[in-house]
Amino acid sequence: MTPLARSFWYAGSIAVTALVVVLWQAIADHGGIPPVFLPGPDRSWDALVAGLQGGDLARLTGATIERMVYGWILASLFGIALGALIGSSRLAREYIAPTLELVRPVPVSAFMPIVIAFIGLTGDMVLIVIAIGSIWPVLLATVHGVSAVEPRLVEVSRSLRLTRLATLWKIALPNAQPDILAGMRLGLTVSLILAVIGEMLTSEDGLGSYILLAGRTFHSADLFAGVILLGAIGLVSNLALQAIEHRMLRWTRR
């Protein structure tokens, strides 16, 4: 397909989305659904703009993003460090990796009540849960990437008499880079989900508590505005990481 045809089709797909929004408006206006349950795009958009300009929405969005990013950075640092430790040692791989596989299928939100029991319904609790929850994709990807180095590269490091640390730093970690980045992208998705649930449970400032309150008080336009913002955070963060991944992995394609 030529680039022109591709952008033509893409414009068409945007038009389809616009059509869906128009349909949503029509249903909201004439569909007989009470406006409490289904606000039209016009009212949702007004609520979004009003909230961002005069209200708290911008601050709450910032709080949620901050929580998500801090938790994710914590998880990524610990995940890569622990993963490198476990992945580069045969002993640790044999004795500890099976335990990780055992814990992995536990839904991460199930850790939340445990952390609540220890430190209560606080902002720290949310941060810790985000870190614990989004460490798994990074940790497992790093273990896999570091341990699956091509045998010839291992021989190279041996004949160069590299120390273990140097092998890890110069060969194993670069080798694991695609896995790690993919794991981090998954981890960011998880941390957004956990940030939202954590805010819902603790009523800490953020979009999670905002949409829960808006729903409970039947302010459905505000609720939809919050959901739209959360969708936008998910979309933008994912696109940004994809772009970073694309740039950083240029060397693997050659």
Binding site: W9, Y10, G12, S13, I14, V16, T17, V20, V36, F37, E94, Y95, I96, A97, P98, T99, L102, V103, P105, V106, P107, V108, S109, A110, F111, M112, P113, I114, I116, A117, F118, T189, L192, I193, V196, I197, M200, L201, L207, G208, I211, L212, A214, G215, R216, F218, S220, L223, F224, G226, V227, L230, G231, G234, L235, N238
Partner: protein
Amino acid sequence: MSKLAKGILFPVLFLLAWEIVMRATRMQSDSLAPPSEIAAAFWRAALDGTLAQRTYETLRAALTGLAVGGGLAVVMSIALGLVPAFARLMRFSIEALRPVPSVALIPVAILVLGFGYAMEISLIAFSAFWPVLIYGHAAIVNIEPQLLEVSRVLRLGAFGRVTKIVLPAALPRYFVGFRLSAAVSLIIAVTVEIAANPMGVGHELMVASQSLHPDLMFAMVLWIGLVGWSLNAALLFAQRRLFGPAGAGVAAR
């Protein structure tokens, strides 16, 4: 030492150390219980029927949601796969909708449907929709062109082409999509129960945490993990048995 023994050594030592430290220090805690008490709490919950009841509620919601979301995704992916123009036109809508975190829809579902099965199932269906859609679409796009030529030679109608050629060829990947969606379904079910919906194992876990019963709380976490692990193991086993190398050729996880 066998591989299994090596793998199991660490958790066993960890549990032993946990038990010994808690007994030696006579620790009284609202957030921690020794493994022996956790096992006892688990046994009690298993005997008085709460465990079975709560697990039934969670699994019923998860599996119904999986069936609804996965079913819709199968229909949608066939349409996307067989009509490229449709796939191109839907691209932006799908890209815009997919990153919406399913938990952000919890308040919407509560508002419209109230608490109970309907709200939980609709959220699970939304989450379970995507893996099946993506794997299914990829499966159909990647079908051997020769197979489609065969269907043309045989003069199969649209319905015969889908049921006799497309679906059988795409089945292994659909299964992988469903396996991922099953894991997602259970996660979302437990998450919705912890965050809002008063039913199922997630709610039981939350109540145990807030009423300061650490023994029951850890027992429920272990049980949820065990259910998730068994579900995944069973589906992996089925995948290997049913599709063998055809299934293994698709991404491992």
